[in-house]
Point group: C2
């Protein structure tokens, strides 16, 4: 092996990327696991979408901010590719390509990293982990609730108290459409509201149509109880959308009610519009209770997104959780502890034998590492420093006498156990940790 | 929602990328899970490396073929980035940056997708899944064995019979170095052997040094029993490497022996050289038994790779398994079956109540989906078509009488169960599936 010093080599990952190790990696792995478990027992099936997609896929409906911040490049054959900035577009494409023959509802989950070229901040990275649920083929609120409650079960399990902010963009879209505001302007106004630039949003809208601006200003300060009255007030402007608005108002109300019945706080907030241009009705966000009330995810209806990609109209709803934010929010929460066993083999020639003992420990499901060192004192000090709970010591004497020395590293208590009794002894000892 | 037909839009993912759904996704998820489980109980800790790295990281030691086939592009700030073609380089970088203070051995695992711009073939994709184990800080063969046997436990668990091909590039490297062959030529010769172009490799070597070519030709046809005699024969040429070769010969022999003791066939094959330029000694590959004897992964010693990135010398060994190849090899093997429950709610107003029943099913750990339809016949036919095992039916009558109708969809047997007895009934029914 040639050893070249690379003088200008930096050990840092590229800006905005992370090296996840230790507790940070353990917690993310724990979140991956629990999320997938709750998705599965709630009847969602896995999809593993490609990390690279054609740029075109995201061009249409991902929202202006996302488009600006995509990693885009040409491959060697000149294809314009993009590292996915979000997953729903891929899911819809894959649904249309492979899954539209399945009985409805089609319920899908994914855990996947996404990429956005944005200024890195605390809790915001250029590569980040999304866990998502999608329900295709359900018109009723039970579809929205099935996704939402599955995510809540997961958040409950990992000990993250949360509440819902709920809104419905069908009202925002309809009122602007009613006033003849072009879709691109609508997208831009909603983008500004999403960025908490309400004043700027209303101002820009006012430059196009001042009645629309007044109506919009009123809307984003509305309480849920006043929505029906608002629709009444603007019924001429909204005349083409009344049926849809009725359905969506009913959806919003029942979504909030049933979440409440299930023990989750859900508050209506018409200021919430979400950054993605494909939402068509109910939308919601998850906020962590306590501390910074960080938004840890969200979702909503995207009925008809299938048609953007040339497919038939499908009712669709879904959500995505930001696992990095969630990991930050549960900082300090520890995944279930596993006792750790160090198998110390003192003699070079007993390595093979020690691996047989290790297989026994593996079968028990305890965590073990094999460590070869001829000096027992040195080995035990390593074991303690590295935080092991139990040491199994295998030397020549132990081998000849068919025993294993078992040492509890926290109490210092040590016993010699017949090899064929070692399983029982370990199980017993570990149960006490 | 505006619905635009995108005329030129293709539903296919970019060339060489895959949309993994259904059984393909289920099996990969199952492999992710089981691999991580065996890694963890064998004392390996998770690392989640960034998907994007500086191109420089791979430039030095990944081997000529990999370098040619990387996805490389500039980000918006002009950084030359690469989608990782393999993971070990990242692990070594991360070890040097964050983990070198930890007590040895440092044992790490990862499951991550890699990217290579190659001609797609059956079982070879431009995005593919690697599962890896790395052991840093162990000089003895127990380090190699701990990684190897952990992978074997995983392969056993998923039902994949396998054997090992074992080689040791220290001999190939030393004999060529002894004859004064420059490292770049060595890399190229080994690359050709790796591509099964032995004749071309020997011929190109002969153009540089015909004695070296003779020695190399002999070496790649050697049996393990003859290695010591070979070293003797070339002891003048190898005089600078004798100690290292002795250690590596002992390692190879014991690696094969102990694997044999543990029940795994391991055969010496000096034709095996592996495509990565960083290997320094023992190397091995996993082959599936039966069928095409596909190579499903491999690994080896990469002592000192740390120094390439400016760090201190560390003993290191590791392996990576190709999960896509493994998924192909166990095609037909099914992950453990979970019975599926459809909760049919017949009345719009009972959706909230039905979600409470669903939570009970969730707590049991059974898989369930909520389905709202006012026509029971239609709902049951959907349930059967979609392959559910059990239906829980909740209508107005059931709600008022505080019962749930439980229907076994395979036998057609149907009972009415008191709501507070529903858990016991489901558990009992599911146990019989």
């Amino acid at each position: 092996m040639v050893t070249i010093m690379v003088g200008d080599f930096s050990l840092l990952p590229p800006r905005g990327m992370r090296d996840l190790v230790g507790e940070d990696a353990e917690i993310l792995e724990y979140l991956f696991n629990e999320f997938k478990n709750y998705a599965r027992i709630n009847g969602f099936k896995p999809v593993i979408p490609p990390t690279l997609e054609y740029f075109k896929l995201f061009e249409k409906k991902s929202g202006e901010e996302i488009k600006r911040s995509m990693y885009v490049f040409e491959d060697k054959a000149g294809r314009l590719l993009s590292l996915r900035p979000e997953i729903t577009a891929s899911i819809v494409r894959i649904y249309l390509r492979l899954l539209r023959g399945l009985p409805k509802p089609v319920k899908l989950y994914y855990v996947a990293q996404c990429f956005r070229y944005e200024e890195p901040q605390h809790g915001r990275y250029r590569e980040f982990w999304q866990a998502g649920l999608e329900v295709i083929g359900v018109r009723g609120v039970e579809g929205d609730l099935e996704a939402a409650l599955t995510a809540s079960s997961f958040l409950d399990k990992i000990g993250l108290e949360h509440f819902y902010e709920v809104s419905n963009v069908s009202l925002h879209r309809s009122i602007m459409s009613g006033f003849g505001i072009p879709v691109e302007t609508q997208d831009h106004v909603l983008h500004l509201i999403d960025k908490r630039m309400n004043d700027k949003a209303i101002e820009e809208l006012r430059n196009v149509n001042s009645d629309a601006a007044d109506a919009m200003k009123k809307l984003i300060e509305l309480s849920l109880d006043d929505v029906r009255q608002y629709i009444d007030e603007y019924k001429d402007v909204l005349s083409n959308y009344l049926e849809k608005l009725e359905e969506e108002l009913d959806r919003t109300t029942r979504f909030i009610e049933i979440l409440g019945d299930m023990g989750y706080k859900a508050v209506y907030n018409p200021n919430l519009v979400r950054g993605l241009a494909y939402y068509s009705g109910l939308i919601f966000e998850y906020k962590a209770i306590g501390g910074l009330e960080l938004s840890i995810g969200g979702g909503g209806r995207y009925d008809g997104l299938t048609t953007v990609y040339g497919g038939p109209f499908e009712y669709s709803t879904g959500l995505a959780l930001g696992l990095d934010r969630i990991a930050l929010s549960i900082k300090g929460v520890k995944p279930p502890y596993r006792p750790r066993v160090l198998i110390i083999v003192l003699d070079h020639n007993l390595v093979g034998y020690a691996f047989k003992i290790k297989r026994i420990v593996e079968d028990i499901g305890a965590e073990s590492t094999l460590y070869h060192h001829s000096k027992i004192k040195k080995a035990l000090s390593t074991a303690s420093k590295a935080g092991y709970d139990l040491a199994l010591i295998i030397g020549k004497k132990e081998f000849e006498e068919k025993v294993v020395t078992v040492k509890d590293l926290r109490t210092g208590h040590q016993t010699r156990v017949a090899s064929d009794e070692v399983v029982r002894e370990i199980v017993e000892k570990l149960a006490r940790i």
